[in-house]
Structure formats: structure tokens, C-alpha cells
Amino acid sequence: MDVMNFYTDPAVIRSSVEKVKNAARDFRNQHQRVPVIMEVCGSHTMAFARSGIKTALKDDVNLIAGPGCPVCVTDQKAIDAMIGLAGKQDTILCTFGDMMRVPGSRRSLVDARTEGKDVRVVYSPVDSVTIAERNPEKEVVFLGIGFETTIPLLAMAVRKAERLNLKNYSVWMTTKLVEPVLRTLLDSGEAEVDGFLLPGHVSVVSGEKSYRFLTAEYGLPGVITGFEPVQLLSGTYKLVRMLREGKHAVVNDYRSVVGQSGNQIAQSLMTTYFTFSDEEWRGMGAIPASGLVLKEAYAAFDAKRRFNVTVPPQRKTACRCGEIIKGRIAPEDCALFGKGCTPVNPVGPCMVSTEGTCAAHYQYMREE
């Protein structure tokens, strides 16, 4: 059996499910409740739902989704600003695919495109620089969302634009960092969790040691894990086992790609081009130093400084995405779930993103 087949092998998956269940039952016997584990990363949320593991473990482990989907935490105002920019003459707005349907106050970028605005989907920010190079008569703006996984790519895009001496390229930064949001969640006391499954992709960049504060300051365990079913189960098992034994360590269960100190080149790109900024998180408000913006030296590539965009007043909806990303409620607890809010007609971003908690529940766990 090759390595990839091992990670998805039904026999290994089923025996791993049993191991997790047994460890979780020990925990329940000790504590008279099931362990509560937050998967910080949206891709984990989706992988748990799609693989059927979340359903298989539902009586034994309470897996709750955290604030790790970049689309879900992007503030409504940022979408409104982007729609405003897309409406400017001679402007090409570029963004990632799953940003397209996120509703702003009233409309999404798909709506803007339907109305004839030039909004394009790219897979990499660097592709948007190529678009700027090929369209010198147009202003090309990239909507730069994402966590540590994506931010180095934004730096690469700016570096390429700088090297090409492009005058028509800029990035609208609304990036997010994992550590500040986890601290905010824990400090608020809103997240009643026993431990964390830590994001594999983010950890590739930030490294194992970036989570030491969890154990040192909050006494909570965490496991960095991958995305295949066997990896998800291995990470969950190691976490439940620590909880059962009362241990509080950060375990790297994704050693094949995550190092102690992370990716130094990516980190150096980030510190070269960006500096900390206070960021607005959808449903959570402003969190100090929780994002990155372009340094003064690269102001020419900063769309926020280049364009004056007025944002309409925010629209209040019954959407409870804010509580969902904090792990306070499950998607099914929101009155809009599956009724007024579906992937075809999303009200909140958690229903839009391919990594969104509501989308995961709607797509993979909905019974009707």
C-alpha cells in the first residue's frame, strides 16, 4: 500500500475511529461529558464533514469549528469596499474564487460581475500581477484576504509588481493572523474548549513553536494535523489521549511538512513587506494587531491608500456566523440555516466558503 492509499484506507479509518471513540469514552467516564475540540482551520472543518468522521464521532467527541476560514471572517465592509472598487471605471478587481459569492451589505462580487463589472477569479495573487502587466491602461486591484498560508503569496505579488515597476497594481489588504484570534477567543472566555486541532497549512508557514502560548499561557493542548481522514483521526486521537491523561502539550502530528520554526523564506517575505494592523473580523469586531498591511515603503501598492472608497451603512441580518466561528453555536442553531441561507443564496460567509462551517454542514451533514 502506498502512503496516500494508507491515509484513505477504509480499514485503517474504521479502526482509527474506534480508537478515538474508546479514548473519548475514557474521558467521558472521568469527566461525565464528552471532550470539546475546536478545529481552528476551515479546511479541517470541511474534511471532517466530508469524510463522514464528524458524523461517526458525533456521540463521543464534540468537534466545533473555529475562526480559521479566511472567507468567513472577512468583514462585510471589506466586500462592500471591493464592490465599490469594482464599480470604478477602468478597474479590474481580482480575488479568490470563494470570495465571489460572499454577501456584503447588499450584494456580492458575483452580483457585481453579473451587472457588468470586471471582476476576475484567480488562484494565485501573482496571477493578478500578470493581469496588471497585460492591461496597463486599467487599474488592477487584488482583494488580499487570507491567513499565514496566503499572506506570503501576497508579498510575492507585491514583489513582482515592484520588480516590474507596475503603476497600475495594488492590493486591498484584509488579512488575518491565527495567534491573535485564538488569544481573543480564549481571553473572552467564550470558547469553552478542551483543546485545539491546529491548522496544518498555516503551521507550514508559522511553525510548531508558534502555538507554544497555548500551553504556556492557557494550559491547553493542541495537535497540528493534516487533512486526510487518517491524519484527522490520528490528530484527534492524540488530542483526546492527552485530555484523558491531563497533559497539555502542543504535538506536531504533521511533521512531514511542518517544522519547528516554519518556513523562514515565507516569514521573511511577510516581515519585509508587511506590518501589523488592527483588523475587523466578521462577527468578532476589531482585534488589535490581528492582521498585516503593507509597510509605508510600499504605499504605492496599497489600494486602501490609493482609492477613496465609501462604504454603505452595514445591513443587519439574523445571520449568526459570528457566533458560529467562535464555536458558540452549531450552524443548525441559526434560524436561517438551510432556509433563508443556502449556498445558492447565502446570507453569511460561513455558507459561502468551501471551508465554511455552514457550507460543510449544508453540503455534507444535512439530512433533508
Binding site: 479509518i13 463522514g52 487570507g146
Partner: protein, 331 residues
């Protein structure tokens, strides 16, 4: 639904709503609208009729071009309806400035595909619109066929679901050819005519309940439609659906589910258990069917109409129609 969006053309939930709320509401004939082709009785013979429009971008992609798609797509709609395709028409909407050499290449591919399947292209139409009013070339086709297949009867518990080969190849080939995703893949579209293969495969078998070609919306959407229309529950086995490794890898990277990606040369069968092995055996003898697999079975013959996936973790999850546009994820 105030305006048409791209998602209305993806073959999923919004397409379904557009058809039922706009077209069927105005035109009626709901029973015919549920299938790839409408089956009509005329002067003692049973005919199948279909129409389709092709607006693919890019026009040329690994494994074919818009012309190949237009011919094979039309033939396949007839073939999965149990018909021998007799003739088809082709209407062209051409954009001012479109290179004649490209048009010749497209038309030549059409002629070659039609000849291979023994189908005549017997009528056509040409319109030219001003630059910017179309995207190179759009093709509309209609096809007519003679129905040969007997009715395989009502779907029963225990019936098997078979797919004739790997799924999602066309979807990934098109996305790679668009070169918008930084995706380097040499996956070719599966674009191919299913005639005469299907008539050979099903010859003499009485238990073929239904055949479909899972195009837009993919395998999952086609099966959901079958489940809902026939009010049955189908349970697929995770890992049983054949996938090319490159397609699986691309889907992992982009966050796509291959079950929802378009196929242009695959057939889906629901067949009596006793005929299923025979179908599989016959498919395996064909180049286009060599990767065919039994992927699931009908677990309830009377139900609200559900498609389920038995996961490797031992649980089941429900599969729904494609909802909205397929868009790549961020990380």
C-alpha cells in the same frame, strides 16, 4: 432570482429552478423535460429528440474542442435515452473577427465525430454578430434518434449503479486549459461519443432501468435527479467511484468535489442486479469502458428520493445537487 447568473448554467440547483420555474411553467411537458432527450411516438415509431447549446471556454482544450463537444454531447443525449442517433443539425453564432482557420478546425472535428458515430449532420444555420457580442463561436444542435431500447421497468431495491469510467476528467481538463488556476495538468477531456457503445452494451438485456450522461453538475447531480424523480434511495460506496489520480490531486488542491465536475463521455446506469455484472463485463471489453465500476446500489425503492454516500468512516452522508458555481478555494 432577479437576474441570470453564471450559476444558472452550471447544471445544479439553480439550473433546475430555472427550468421548472421559467421554462416548464411556460412550455409545460414536465415529463419530457426530466430527461436528456424527449421520447415521442410518431406514426408507429418511437423517436427521441434533443437540443443543446455549446458555449465552452476555451474553444480548444486537451481532448477536443467545442465542435467535438457539440456532436458527442448531442449523440450522447440520444444514446442514453436508448436511441440510435439518426441525424442532427448544427447552428452557429459566430463573432465578427473569428479566425476562419479555427472555424474550419472546429467543423472538421464535428464531421469526423459524426462520421465515427454514423450520424449525418443534415441541416444548419449561421449567424454572425458584432465583435464583443459573442465569445468566438457558439453552437446549437438538435438531434433525432430511433428508440430501440425496451423499458427496463421500475427501479427496484438491490439494483446496481454503474459508471462507465473515471469521473471529472472533462471538468479538470477545461479548468486547466483556461490556465486561470495555475494548474498544470495533462488530464484530457473524456469527450467521446457513447454511440454505438451503449446499444452494444445493453443489447439483449432487459434489466437496464435508466441510463444518463452525467455532464454539467456531474455524477452526483445526475444521481440526485434520478433518486428524486424515481423516489428511490441510492447508496454510493466512498472510494468506489473511479477517479484519475491527477483529477483527484487537482480536486484536493482546488477544493472541488469530483462528483460534481462535468463529464462528456461517461454513462451512468441503474440496472437490475442480474444484468449489472453483464454490463460491467461488456463495458470492460470496450476502451471507453475499461475503468467502469459498480459504485453503489438502490437501498430503498420507495422513498423521498435520496442519494447517500457510505463513507470510509462507516457513516453515511447525504449528497445534494450542485449548489451554485464551482469556485476554487483560497487555501
Amino acid at each position: 432570482m432577479k437576474r441570470i447568473s453564471l450559476a444558472h448554467g452550471e447544471g445544479g440547483e439553480l439550473t433546475e429552478r430555472l427550468i421548472t420555474e421559467v421554462f416548464v411553467k411556460a412550455f409545460g411537458n414536465e415529463a419530457h423535460a426530466a430527461y436528456d432527450a424527449a421520447v415521442l411516438e410518431s406514426a408507429g415509431s418511437t423517436l427521441a429528440i434533443t437540443t443543446d447549446s455549446f458555449v465552452v471556454k476555451p474553444l480548444f482544450f486537451p481532448g477536443g474542442n467545442i465542435g467535438t463537444l457539440a456532436v458527442t454531447g448531442t449523440i450522447n443525449d440520444l444514446a442514453v435515452s436508448g436511441a440510435v442517433p439518426l441525424a442532427m443539425t448544427a447552428g452557429f453564432i459566430l463573432e465578427e473577427g473569428f479566425p476562419l482557420s479555427d472555424l474550419k478546425a472546429i467543423v472538421s472535428a464535428m464531421a469526423s465525430e459524426a462520421e465515427k458515430a454514423g450520424v449525418a449532420i443534415v441541416a444548419g444555420d449561421t449567424k454572425v454578430v458584432a465583435k464583443g457580442e459573442a465569445d468566438g463561436v457558439f453552437i446549437n444542435t438538435a438531434g433525432i434518434g430511433q428508440v430501440y431500447g425496451g423499458n427496463g421497468g421500475k427501479i427496484r431495491e438491490g439494483d446496481k449503479v454503474i459508471v462507465s469510467g473515471t469521473v471529472g476528467d472533462h471538468g479538470i481538463a477545461i479548468l486547466s486549459a483556461r490556465n486561470e488556476l495555475g494548474l498544470l495538468s495533462d488530464v484530457k477531456s473524456d469527450c467521446a461519443s457513447l454511440h454505438p457503445m451503449l446499444s452494444n452494451i445493453t443489447y439483449g438485456l432487459s434489466g437496464v432501468r435508466i441510463m444518463r450522461d452525467p455532464t454539467r453538475g456531474g455524477l452526483a447531480t445526475a444521481l440526485v435527479e434520478i433518486c428524486e424523480h424515481h423516489r428511490v434511495t441510492v447508496e454510493l460506496e466512498e472510494g468506489a467511484v473511479p477517479l484519475k489520480r491527477e483529477v483527484e490531486g487537482a480536486c484536493d488542491i482546488l477544493g472541488f468535489d469530483p462528483l460534481y465536475l462535468a463529464n462528456e463521455g461517461k454513462a451512468l446506469f441503474v440496472a437490475d442486479e442480474k444484468d449489472a455484472e453483464q454490463i460491467l463485463e461488456r463495458l470492460h471489453r470496450e476502451e471507453k469502458g475499461k475503468d467502469a465500476r459498480i459504485i453503489g446500489r438502490v437501498t430503498e425503492a420507495v422513498s423521498a428520493g435520496r442519494l447517500l454516500m457510505r463513507t470510509a468512516a462507516g457513516s453515511t452522508r447525504r449528497l445534494h445537487r450542485l449548489s451554485g458555481l464551482i469556485l476554487p478555494r483560497i487555501c
